[in-house]
C-alpha cells in the first residue's frame, strides 16, 4: 500500500455566531492515496463542504479549525501559515465549486481568470500562460478555445462554465482536486458529460480526487472509496463496491433504501429519511443519528459509538457492531441469501 497523499486526523471545525458555536465538523479522519477518487456523501449540512474548506483555510471569517491535523505530502495543512497555504492553493490542490454561475467572477474574462491562476504559480510569460490556458480549454473540450478565452462567464452555459472551472482547477497540474458537488447545479445530461470528463481527466492526469456529492449514483460510477457523513462526523467508510453491496450502518442503509436500482443507470437524489438532522449548536452526546434511527438503543443516546472495523478498509460508527449488541439483519447479521 502506497504512502497516503493526504491524511486527515480528528478534524474539528466550528463557526462562532451570535447564536452560539456551531460545531460543523466534529472529528473527521480519513486518508487519500495518490490517484484515488474518494467520494463523500451525506445530507445537506452534514459538514462535507466545511471539511474540505477547512483543509484549504477557506472558511468564512467566523469559522475556525479547533483541532486536528491534515498531512499533505508530509506537511500539516492546518499548521501552515497563510503564505505557504496560498502557495499550495490552486497549485498542488485545485478546487471546483458547486455553482458555476456564481463561482466565476462576472466582470473578468474567463481567460483572465485562468491565466491569473497560472501566472500566480508559474514563472512564465503572459503569452505562455495564455497558450497554456488555450490548451486547458481544449483539454476540457471547450470549442474554439482560443477565441473563448476572451468571453465573459455570462456568455457561457452552465456546463461550459463548469468546464472553465475545471480548467482553472487543473491549470497547475494539482496532485489533489477537490470537487464540491461539481454537477449539482447542472441538467442531467450535462451532469453526465461533466462527470465523464472528470473521470477521463483523472485517469489521464492521475491526480487524486475528493468528490463531494448528494448523488449516490455519481459515487457508484466514479469513486474508489466512499465516506458517509452525518452530523459533522464520518458514519461509514468503505470501498465503493463493498459500500453498495454490504452497507453496515443504519444511516447508509437508509440512504441506499431510497435508490430503486443503481444498475439501470437512473441517477437518484437522496430522498430524506424521516426527521431532521441534529442542531449543530447543541449536538447530541450520543450517536447523532439516534433520533432518527430505527434501531436506536439506550446506549446510542448515552454515548457516541466508536468506529468499528467491520472488514478490511470498511469502518462503521454504530453500536450494533459491538460484540454484545443485539443482532440486526443486514448490519451485524448476514442477510439470508
Amino acid at each position: 500500500m502506497s504512502q497516503p497523499l493526504l491524511s486527515v486526523r480528528d478534524l474539528r471545525t466550528s463557526f462562532f455566531t451570535s447564536r452560539g458555536e456551531v460545531q460543523a465538523v466534529r472529528g473527521v479522519s480519513f486518508e487519500l492515496r495518490p490517484g484515488e477518487i474518494l467520494g463523500i456523501v451525506g445530507e445537506s449540512g452534514s459538514g462535507k463542504s466545511i471539511t474540505c474548506m477547512s483543509l484549504l483555510g477557506l472558511l468564512k471569517s467566523n469559522g475556525k479549525v479547533i483541532a486536528g491535523s491534515a498531512l499533505f505530502e508530509g506537511e500539516d495543512l492546518l499548521q501552515l501559515d497563510d503564505r505557504d497555504l496560498r502557495r499550495l492553493r490552486g497549485d498542488e490542490i485545485g478546487m471546483i465549486f458547486q455553482d458555476p454561475m456564481t463561482s466565476l467572477n462576472p466582470t473578468l474574462t474567463v481567460g483572465e481568470q485562468v491565466i491569473e491562476t497560472i501566472l500566480r504559480h508559474r514563472r512564465i510569460s503572459r503569452a505562455a500562460a495564455r497558450q497554456r490556458a488555450t490548451e486547458l480549454f481544449e483539454l476540457v473540450r471547450i470549442p474554439s478555445a482560443a477565441k473563448r478565452l476572451r468571453s465573459y462567464p455570462h456568455e457561457f452555459s452552465g456546463g461550459m462554465r463548469q468546464r472553465v472551472m475545471i480548467a482553472m482547477a487543473l491549470s497547475c497540474d494539482p496532485k489533489l482536486l477537490i470537487a464540491d458537488e461539481p454537477t449539482t447545479a447542472l441538467d442531467v445530461t450535462i451532469q453526465r458529460q461533466i462527470l465523464a470528463l472528470l473521470r477521463e481527466l483523472q485517469s489521464r492526469l492521475g491526480m487524486a480526487v475528493i468528490l463531494i456529492t448528494h448523488d449516490l449514483g455519481v459515487i457508484a460510477e466514479t469513486a474508489d472509496r466512499v465516506l458517509v457523513m452525518y452530523g459533522g462526523m464520518v458514519m461509514e467508510e468503505a470501498p465503493v463496491r463493498r459500500m453498495f453491496a454490504r452497507p453496515s450502518h443504519p444511516y447508509t442503509r437508509g440512504l441506499l433504501a431510497s435508490i430503486p436500482d443503481l444498475r439501470d443507470g437512473t441517477h437518484q437524489r437522496l430522498t430524506p429519511i424521516p426527521g431532521s438532522p441534529p442542531d449543530m449548536r447543541r449536538p447530541p452526546a450520543g450517536c447523532p443519528f439516534a433520533p432518527r434511527c430505527r434501531n436506536a438503543m439506550a446506549q446510542c443516546v448515552k454515548a457516541l459509538p466508536p468506529i468499528y472495523e467491520v472488514d478490511a478498509g470498511h469502518g462503521s460508527r454504530c453500536w450494533l457492531h459491538h460484540a454484545e449488541a443485539p443482532r440486526v439483519e443486514g448490519i451485524n447479521e448476514l442477510v439470508p441469501a
Binding site: 426527521g275 433520533p291 466508536p306
Partner: protein, 390 residues
Amino acid sequence: MSDIHVAPEMWKPAARIAGAAEQIAAPSLTYWQDVRQRLWRNRPAMLGLGFIIVLVIAAIFGPMVSRHNYYDQDLKLSNIPPVFQVYEVTDESGATTRFFFNSGNLNLYEVTDDGRIAGLIRGKKDLLKKQTVFAFGDVEVTLNAATQTLTRGGGVVLAAGGWQWNMSNLFGTDQLGRDVLARQLYGARISLTVALVATLVNFFIGVFYGGIAGYLGGRVDTLMMRVVEVISTIPLTLYVILIMVVFNSGFFSVIIAIGSVYWVDMARIVRGQILTLKQQDYVAAARTMGASTGRILTRHLLPNSIGPILVALTMLIPSAIFIESFMSFIGLGVTPPEASWGTLTSEAVETLRAYPYQMFFPAAAISLTMFAFNFLGDGLRDALDPRLRT
C-alpha cells in the same frame, strides 16, 4: 475494539423518539417571531422606535396641554432664552428685584422667584454714552452696551447669580415673542402629519401601480415599467418645487406635492415581489380554485411582500420629513404662522447672529427624528434579511 463495557440493559430500544427529533432540534421560530426577536435585540432600532412613539404622543397631546399656543405674539417678550443668569438688586426699602440680562437685544427682564418672566424693565437710553440706565427704587443700574456689563451706583460691577431655567417659556421665545416649545410641538404635528399622509399616499399609489404592473405582466407591465423608469430619472425635488409653485404654499399643497411624486420605489418593490410570488404554486392553486384577482392580491401576494414594503415605508417617512422641511426652508412649505421643522429652522437662521441658541431646538428635533427613523429602518432591514448579519 469492541471491548468497551456496556451494561446489558443499555441494549434495549431507546425510549422513543417521536418527540426526540424535535427536542434536539433548536426551538424553531416562525419567520416573524424571528424577525421580531432580532429587531428587539437591535438597540439603536428600539431606541429609535421609542423616540418616535414619544414624539408622536408629544405631537398629539403636547399642544393640548401647553399653556401657550403657536401663534400668539408678544413683541415685548421676544427672543427670550430658555436659561439665563439671574441678577438681584435690593433697594433701600428692602424690595428685591430679580431680573436677567438679554445680551442679544440689551434688555432687562424681571423674573419672579419661581423663574417666570414678569416683564420687560424699561430704562433710559443714553445714546451718546451708549448706555442705558435702569432705576430700581432708588438704586440705579447702568448697562454699558459696548462691554455688556451692568454696574450699580458708584461703578460696582453687578455679579450674576445662579442659572435659572425659564419657567414661562421652557424653550424660550422666538423673534416675535412666540413660545418656542409650543411651536416645536405644533411643528412636530405638522411635520409628522405631512410625512405620514404623504407616505401613505405614495404607498397606495405605489402598491396600486406596481401591483397592477406585476399582476398583469406582459406588455402592460413593460410599458408601465418604462414609465417608471422615466419618472425615476426625473429629479423629483424639482417637481415638488414646481407643484408647490402651482398650488401655492400651504399644508395641503405640501402633502399633494410630496405624496404624488415618491411612489416609484414602492411600485418597483411591489412589482418585483409579485412577479416572484406569481411563480409560486399556491397562487396558481388559488387561481384554479376560482379565487378572484383582488382576493389573490390581498390574501396571498401582499402579505408576502410586506417585509420589503415596510422597510421602504420607514425610509420614506424621514425623506418626506426632510423634503417638507427643505421646502419650508426655501419658503415653499407651510405658511406662517403655521410652523414646521423647516420653518422653525429657517426662522432660527434669521436670528443666528444674535441668538445662535435658537437653532438648537429645531435642529435637534429634526436631526433626532431623522436618526430615529434611520435606525428603525436599518434595524428592520437587518431583521428581515438575516443574511447581512453575522
